[in-house]
Symmetry: C2
Subunit: 349 residues, 2 copies
């Protein structure tokens, strides 16, 4: 005896990303703005001059990647229960990627899912974390290992918030922009080689191009069954760098920059990329003072750490390797010996 549960249907998770000064908006529901003390001190008064609600709550969680954990998510959820939020209520993630990921995850599991809006305040979260609906938190086993796909209702990217962003964090955001150009958009890469991001209009245009590039990839593959995995370029290696340095030494974008250089060297060794192209990428990273080297003390232990990464299958590791500039190959058939030779020589430079 068999019963089929027919759940094939059209699902519309589309949303708009506005890249502009935030327009005043009123919500006729309960709204909680989730942020951290630092962002709140710098920018909350600005946001509150734009956003009003039937009932408005502010929830702050500690600032930093090391607090992107269950305690912080529980702090958010507890507050929602205390104030009797329900399925029609709304969360607003107001901060960088850490705030966005945790707020989105809390929204995805609170009463089996409520709406949320992203208002990213760092360049990195504006171009990357706010597009695509990946939410999550870290645990003792690694980064983003617990999470969900939960799309925001909208994303508001207001360049105003970048005025207070430290230079190092700005550069970390540029790393993800470069990542998208190398993997998907050669023209955009060449534009970046000559662009002056201190010009506000140029920066706004670059944000738009980066968001569009990522958006087109996510639209093709929302749940990362295929091509979306290419956005992990630099991340397979970068996650290990972050793990080895306990998420303290490098900002995420900096670790990704190192990861891109490692991926490029692998690609060069496999004949997918010329040494000249790898150099151009390295030069562009260095233009923004991003790290391009890293001392690997033990290649075997570095290699073993790959297997903690969620993108790896039962017995293989998935590598995202550039094919020249503007194209990309996803492969899980890299020889261990080839990777080890890249790792062995990398520290020596």
């Amino acid at each position: 005896m068999q019963v089929n549960i027919a759940l094939k249907q059209v699902v519309d998770n589309s949303y708009d990303i506005a890249i502009d000064t935030i327009k005043p908006i009123h919500f006729d529901t309960k709204v909680a703005i989730v942020t951290n003390p630092k962002v709140a001190g710098l920018h909350l008064s600005y946001l509150l001059s734009k956003i009003t609600a039937k009932e408005l709550y502010i929830i702050t969680v500690p600032d930093g990647e090391e607090y992107k954990n269950q305690d912080s998510v529980n702090l958010i959820l507890e507050s929602l229960f205390n104030h009797k939020f329900n399925r029609k209520s709304m969360l607003i993630a107001f901060g960088g990627g850490v705030i966005g990921d945790m707020t989105g995850f809390a929204a995805s599991i609170y009463q089996r899912g409520i709406k949320f809006i992203q208002i990213p305040t760092t360049l990195l979260s504006q171009v990357d974390a706010s597009v695509g609906g990946k939410t999550g938190m870290n645990n003792s086993y690694g980064k983003n290992l617990i999470g969900a796909f939960h799309q925001p209702k909208s994303v508001l990217i207001d360049p105003h918030f970048l005025t207070t962003l430290p230079a190092r964090e700005f550069s970390a955001g540029v790393a993800e922009i470069i990542k998208m150009a190398v993997t998907f958009n050669k023209e955009f890469f060449e534009f970046l080689e000559s662009a002056d991001l201190s010009d506000a209009a140029v920066l706004q245009d670059v944000i738009k191009q980066a968001v569009q590039t990522k958006a087109s990839v996510v639209a093709k593959d929302e749940k990362e069954q295929g091509i979306r995995a290419a956005l992990n370029y630099g991340h397979t290696f970068g996650h290990v760098v972050e793990n080895e340095t306990k998420y303290k030494k490098y900002l995420h974008g900096e670790a990704v920059a190192i990861g891109m250089v490692l991926a490029n060297e692998t690609a060069v060794k496999m004949g997918l990329m010329s040494t000249y192209e790898a150099l151009r990428v390295k030069n562009l990273l260095q233009k923004y003072s991003l790290p391009v080297s890293y001392e690997i003390s033990n290649s075997d232990s570095f290699y073993e750490t790959f297997f903690l990464d969620k993108k790896s299958s039962d017995s293989s590791i998935t590598f995202i390797l550039p094919v020249g500039i503007g194209d990309v190959k996803i492969t899980d058939s890299c020889d261990k010996s080839l990777i080890l030779s890249v790792l062995d020589t990398f520290g020596a430079k």
Copy 2:
């Protein structure tokens, strides 16, 4: 400047429910069977004679609704991390609704979602919890308040497991079957009035009809935006009963039985149902020794507890009221005074 993220697409979450003796199956991935010590003691050897895998793990969590919490979910997740489960791995929920809900929830958030299969071992979970993809856990604020919609890859309903089910738990399962008949299927209700469920063939047919009834509702409304809410008939009141008795005195199906009687009395007062129809439902519940009365010590406090229920909106409570037998009305405009008068007189009987 605006970018649209186009995520309108056809999503196929369809799956099959087999109502039959489990066929031998081998999985070429890592598989973890999540169960509790009692079910494992009774039925694991049977299941292991049917299921093999590349790597097979057994995870037990404590038995009972009071352990349907974050500690147990974390226990499952930790074990998956320890054994390096990845996105291609598979969970099998082997037990009643508690096991199914927690295993499904763990599957939904582990690495942003992995596959799982339901093998329900109680009548209740066979006809109800295994259909529809609702997963979740309880917390100090109430039942199922944290969770996700995550559909299983398949559901295997093997009548073999019911042979060891205590009579009281069997009846609790029948309560949910009666619930589906009252709300959606008059013919099925009349069949149940005369059916002998001790006959194995009749029972198998009743399970099939119940699953089909629920499946047709879920197929129309996977995320409970509309008609699926009707399956909460008996639950709005029942959850308060469970909450007041701290989930100890009644099995879930028993609390739902009391909740149905309360909903019927409300429906009778509103002219939606005749007293005769309400009596037929009560008689059918009593045929299976289900409780049909409950002492309400304080109607106001009972009423206030509704607002903890996630199905309630900002300021109103959603009631699911039968319209005769076989039809249902979802309303959030019941007068508080009307509900209080039902509650006031209920305890007196």
